[in-house]
């Protein structure tokens, strides 16, 4: 429980840092620190699938935000220290291949697709939820948090569309208030 509180405190600290910083790139990095510690908190709460999703979305958002904040290309050096660079690249590739092989080995064998969790759902779903429709039982009783997140995403999309396409509040004379908005 202590490490969870440490992670939560770090998340609050990094969020405050992300708001207070004036450099855009630094605050993007601070936001990604929040996301990474959120992913670690999910791992600590024994929810690895949510942690993986959080990590992937976080990396995607980080890449998009960095590309949006940096106008010129990221510097990429090709000269010098080629031996060190090649060794590091080979080590990373070997590590990723090993981890992938281990992950593939732990998958269920071919022809037996039923995992532990889904067999529990199928055996106890009707008794524990009372719903004959097992899909509704999983999506609205076992996994209602996902439904809540989906509802949040849809409402956010609606708010975004209505904000972008609103009639009032747009600048009629373009470029007049740009300095204030920045």
């Amino acid at each position: 429980m202590t490490e969870l509180y440490i992670l939560l405190g770090f998340m609050i600290f990094a969020a405050i840092v992300a708001i207070e910083l004036h450099d855009l790139l630094s605050s993007v990095i601070a936001v990604s620190a929040v996301g990474l510690s959120l992913s670690m908190a999910f791992l600590d709460l024994k929810a690895p699938d949510v942690a993986i999703t959080q990590l992937v979305v976080e990396i995607l958002c980080l890449i998009i935000l960095i590309r949006a904040t940096i106008h010129r290309d990221i510097p990429f050096s090709t000269s010098g220290r080629w031996l060190l660079n090649t060794t590091i690249a080979l080590a990373f590739v070997t590590t990723f291949l090993t981890v992938t092989w281990k992950a593939i080995e732990s998958l269920p064998p071919f022809g037996y697709p039923i995992l532990h969790v889904s067999s529990t759902y199928m055996q106890e779903g009707l008794v524990r939820t009372g719903a004959t429709n097992l899909v509704a039982a999983v999506s609205l009783n076992y996994r209602t948090y996902d439904r809540l997140g989906e509802a949040t995403a849809m409402i956010t999309a609606l708010v975004g569309v209505l904000t972008l396409l609103r009639k009032y509040g747009h600048n009629t004379t373009a470029g007049e208030n740009e300095d204030k908005e920045c």
Binding site: V135, A137, N141, R147, A151, L158, V161, L162
Partner: protein, 151 residues
Amino acid sequence: MLKASESHTLSLIVRTAARSVARLMFLFGFYIVFHGQITHGDGFAGGVIMALGFILLMIVFGREVSMEIISRSGARCLAGLGALLLLMIGAGGLSGSGYFFFNFLGKGTPFHYWSAGIIPLCNFAVLLIVTGVLVGVFAALTSFEMKAGRK
């Protein structure tokens, strides 16, 4: 009764067919949603069907006529009400037993209509959210296009 606005000139056959088909679509969407706990489909599928019914009315009879049934602010209110209802269901489980989204209503007997506790309520909330969001987004996009075309 639905009457086409003056600016719209879709033919009589299309208008008559759309009138009856839209009612059937609303009925089918309600059926999908409110039988979600015992047969296939849930709030999302039913909400999409009902939103498609509104969009059909919007295409055939013009935006002004369908806006009288459900306006843009009405669609926003619908989505917000659905989200609020979903949160209240979760908070009800939290206050009843200490777990967020706990099934605090009775489970009932399976294969009967009144069964599965909070699942029909969640279906209704998801229906409100999906219908409101899809109708609102479609109305906003079409009105924006008309406004840009006038310039």
